[in-house]
């Protein structure tokens, strides 16, 4: 049983991305270097042999995932589970949390200009954000941050995959990316 086969079996049987550090637990003989080498070998092999799926890095984990060109065929099947898209308001709130984390609900609401209790609840329920601490000040508000599930939902390998404020067409006059001085008193 070679390393690559073991790693393949584990990725194949997993319903969530796995980090190299998780995969090593499959066997005492494995270590992270060997797992990384096996992952590289698998990635090359899937590409070379024209598999319909590929090995992809997401957040700090790896997963097997179909290549995008098969989407039109797969969308015809009820037995192929699909993740539902987020609503516009939910995406807006999520964008704010992603760039300004850790951030309280009230701050999100100030930036959006509208009550955001419902969308924050949705994002929490979908595991895209989580409570990461508590802020200073009155009521010590819960602060939110994004999760690994967030990375997976958008297919980001790391936070560096998020669009950078400076490459967006819209910038503040002084070029400061999303000035952090917003007081949340609304």
């Amino acid at each position: 049983m070679n390393d690559a086969s073991i790693v393949e079996a584990i990725l194949f049987a997993s319903d969530a991305p796995l980090a190299a550090g998780d995969i090593v637990r499959a066997d005492e003989a494995l270590d992270e270097d060997r797992v990384e080498a096996a992952l590289t070998a698998l990635r090359d092999e899937y590409d070379r042999s024209g598999r319909a799926f590929e090995l992809r890095q997401v957040a700090d984990g790896y997963q097997l995932i179909t290549r995008p060109e098969f989407a039109p065929y797969l969308e015809r099947f009820d037995t192929v589970p699909r993740t539902s898209r987020l609503s516009g308001p939910a995406l807006e709130a999520l964008a704010i949390v992603a760039y300004r984390q850790p951030i309280s609900r009230v701050e999100v609401e100030y930036i959006r200009g509208v009550n955001s209790t419902g969308v924050i609840r949705t994002l929490l329920d979908r595991g895209l954000i989580e409570a990461v601490g508590r802020g200073e000040g009155v009521g010590r508000p819960v602060l939110y941050g994004t999760t690994g599930r967030f990375m997976e939902h958008f297919g980001f390998a790391s936070l560096d995959d998020l669009p950078r404020p400076e490459e967006l067409p819209v910038v503040l006059r002084d070029g400061a990316p999303l000035a952090g001085e917003a007081d949340a008193e609304g």
Binding site: A13, S14, D15, R56, Q63, L64, I65, T66, R67, P68, F70, A71, L74, T79, V80, P81, R82, T83, R85, L86, S87, G88, P89, L91, E92, L94, A95, I96, A98, Y99, Y110, I111, R112, G113, V114, N115, T117, R121, L124, A131, G133, R134, R140, V142, H153, F154, G155, D161, L162, P163, P165, L168, P169, V170, V171, L172, R173, L178, A179, A182
Partner: protein, 266 residues
């Protein structure tokens, strides 16, 4: 009220020189304001507050069926715009470059616009990711023996979760509060009738019969508009003291012509 923005449709149309906007298409007051500014090629660093305020009020007057909370957010913004407009008319020590009353609004608009741009990038990433599918069938496996597993959770984590829990009644309240639409016109008539009868009236009295905030805001906006047209005079001796509305020099002029009123109130 919050519906998906659909990029393929233009949510605003120019009609008789007025911008007609369906507020339902917008995620909130900032979204609406940005739309007004961007579709008219307005320099965001030099917003013509009077014009934008007029257009914004026109747009939210069409907010008839929205629920009260949502309307409140638009009205709050309307009040902010009117406040900025008023501050710009007043000469004073604060009236210089560094203290442009519009500065904070501009900062918020730009920040919001940036967020909107990021959200649209996230949408493309989501679409890309949506074309890739993970493993469908996963073999059933034995339950992990979690009892023996390490656990690094602290009490702070648990307590933070406790504090984040919201009252379930809030979430259950899904029924919509039906409110009669409140128009500026009706508030104008109310104020005019009041000052015709007795020369002056306290603002608080005018709004006392209603508990919804929308009545207060609309009455206040109507008062400001009538003040601008000098139909009434607003007096307040000091901040937070009672606000009195007096019959103004132009009382009785113009109200004879309802169409002129409508025009002025747009």
């Amino acid at each position: 009220m919050i519906l998906e923005r659909d990029g393929s449709r233009d949510p605003g149309t120019i009609e008789d020189g007025l911008l007609v906007v369906e507020t339902e298409r917008f995620h909130g007051p900032l979204d609406l304001l940005l739309h007004l500014i961007r579709t008219q090629d307005i320099d965001i660093f030099d917003i013509p507050i009077a014009r934008i305020t007029r257009q914004f009020l026109t747009a939210i007057e069409e907010l008839h069926d929205g629920d009260v909370d949502e309307a409140g957010e638009f009205l709050e913004m309307a009040a902010t715009l009117v406040r900025i407009k008023a501050r710009m008319l007043l000469p004073g020590p604060a009236d210089d470059e560094d203290h442009d009353p519009r500065a904070e609004l501009v900062r918020r608009l730009l920040e919001y616009e940036q967020i909107r741009e990021i959200a649209s990038r996230l949408r493309s990433a989501e679409d890309d990711r949506g074309r890739r599918f993970g493993k469908g069938f996963v073999q059933p496996r034995s339950r992990p023996a979690l009892m023996d597993a390490p656990l690094t959770v602290t009490w702070e984590d648990v307590f933070a979760a406790a504090l984040a829990i919201e009252a379930p009644v809030e979430r259950e309240r899904e029924h919509r509060v039906e409110t009669r639409p409140v128009s500026m016109r009706e508030k104008v008539d109310l104020i005019v009738a009041a000052v015709t009868q007795r020369r002056r009236i306290e603002f608080a009295k005018l709004i006392a019969p209603w508990k919804e905030r929308i009545h207060g805001v609309m009455t206040f906006l109507a008062g400001l508009e009538l003040g601008r047209r000098r139909v009434v005079t607003l007096r307040q001796t000091e901040p937070f003291s009672p606000l009195w509305i007096y019959r103004g020099p132009n009382a009785g002029i113009g109200s004879a012509d309802p169409s002129a009123d409508d025009e002025a109130l747009r």
